[in-house]
Subunit: 327 residues, 2 copies
Amino acid sequence: MYSVDQFQKLVEKEIAKRSDELLKHSPAELYEPIHYSLEMGGKRLRPVLVLLACNLFSDDVEQALPAAVAIEVFHNFTLLHDDIMDKAAVRRNRAAVHLKFSENSAILSGDAMAFQSYKYLVETRSPRLIDAISLFTQTAIEVCEGQQFDMDFETRLEVSAEEYLKMIRLKTAVLLAASLKTGALLGNADEEASNDLYEFGIQLGLAFQLQDDLLDTFGDQDTFGKKIGGDILSNKKTYLLIKALENASQEQKTALLQWLGKTEFDPNQKILAITGIYKEIGVKELVEKLVDSYFGQAMNILDKLKVGDDRKKPLRELATKMLTRKK
Amino acid sequence: MYSVDQFQKLVEKEIAKRSDELLKHSPAELYEPIHYSLEMGGKRLRPVLVLLACNLFSDDVEQALPAAVAIEVFHNFTLLHDDIMDKAAVRRNRAAVHLKFSENSAILSGDAMAFQSYKYLVETRSPRLIDAISLFTQTAIEVCEGQQFDMDFETRLEVSAEEYLKMIRLKTAVLLAASLKTGALLGNADEEASNDLYEFGIQLGLAFQLQDDLLDTFGDQDTFGKKIGGDILSNKKTYLLIKALENASQEQKTALLQWLGKTEFDPNQKILAITGIYKEIGVKELVEKLVDSYFGQAMNILDKLKVGDDRKKPLRELATKMLTRKK
């Protein structure tokens, strides 16, 4: 059995190999941005989850490597296109593809990555391949739906907590869930176990995204990696803001809406003021409770899974690491 | 057996049904542009080719309908993204999706269409499904490569005839070829026949695209549908221009390059002048000969195919119709 670290190294090596191989194809203008995107690094969370899930049921995890890479390439494709749509300049401390190359490059190389991910997936030798392709396809459609909801929320005045949770489920959780279920399918798990792992991934994904929202406001600059307060400055309708508006007194609500409506302001002042109101309302504790609840549900599912406990250890370790609060 | 017209109606009805069904999904902002794109019409050439090819080997063509729709949805996805990249305002006499909705809509709804096409394809009940998915995926990657070459040629000074033919092979011919081979696979044709149909599609596709280049300069405004001379005005490095430069006298070459270098000119004068030089050089006849040669090779392949001649009739009819000169 492998440790999380070993899986990470295995995945990293496989991605580097395949990414270098793509550079031999032409036209270079299409493949260089793909190589750039895949070499940017990142946590490789999704492919590692594929292997971890496969390893719950099978000792042959190498057969799941093409599918693991497929999901990472798909994930990177979404980043290329999202960064154009969100006008994001930086990704993992480097220039986003649409700025490093061009917007057309980010569109077309992104498209090629989406299809390349199917090419890797189809390499998989497994009697469950059609199931894996169907799952991958349904997930990809849902991720697009999630991104559209996310963009729609930007221009909408009111977003309910329920709508927000649906959005992050589609945009973030389903791909983590699909990574786990893909691993289970390729490990030849039965239907019940595969579905349990999917549900484990949904709960873990929701906890993970809400945790990310928390860190964006309450995190530590150095360990979080991004600038603290970004969501507040862009008026992003996160779960924190939605819950704050829901639970605010009339006075707090007026203050919040005033800050949201300002077109000119000192950034640090806005962050300080809104964080202050959040603290008064107790939004942080409220969201932390929800994170704990989702994480607890995920762990319950994993506990009940009919697999030897030693086999579950690396997955439990990674899940816990994903949710460790960097505050 | 069906006629080409009957196939066209069958395809049109199936696309309308599925397109309407998509409108029931949310978010509407994602699915409305897809519906708009699929309702724009067009010749539905590719899905009809799927059914025609399937019908060569099987009487059950309805089983190939999901795959036929898949390829049309994929084709429309490429139009959404190409129109952003090429800054094209009009598609089939209506506003292009990125202008009717927004650029972000065209990116994201296009992405969803790409995945939706896999969803339709995977519906296919066939022992050859994995082969069909692999072919579809390889083709999609090649179409991206073709579009990248096409964009690269815009900024390059010299493009060889060989490079141009490779580009239109990737951008246009492989998808026609894959449509035919998909139909053959689903009709359970043997490997040789499936590959012959692919090659038939390549030759037909090359003839079709070169014919389109010819019509853009020498066609009849009313029957061509687009404005004549568009390629000349945009200095597009078509086969006509490449061959003209290759075969021009020193004097003709100087005149051509002068027109290509002008930043201010009367459009009609430029079209008239360059068309005049093409006529002197005999480019039209030269390209017509090449079109005839590719078309002849396609027909040879179809003739040799070990299938009853009555079964080949509708495919021969459509291929001939595709190449009928509207001049």
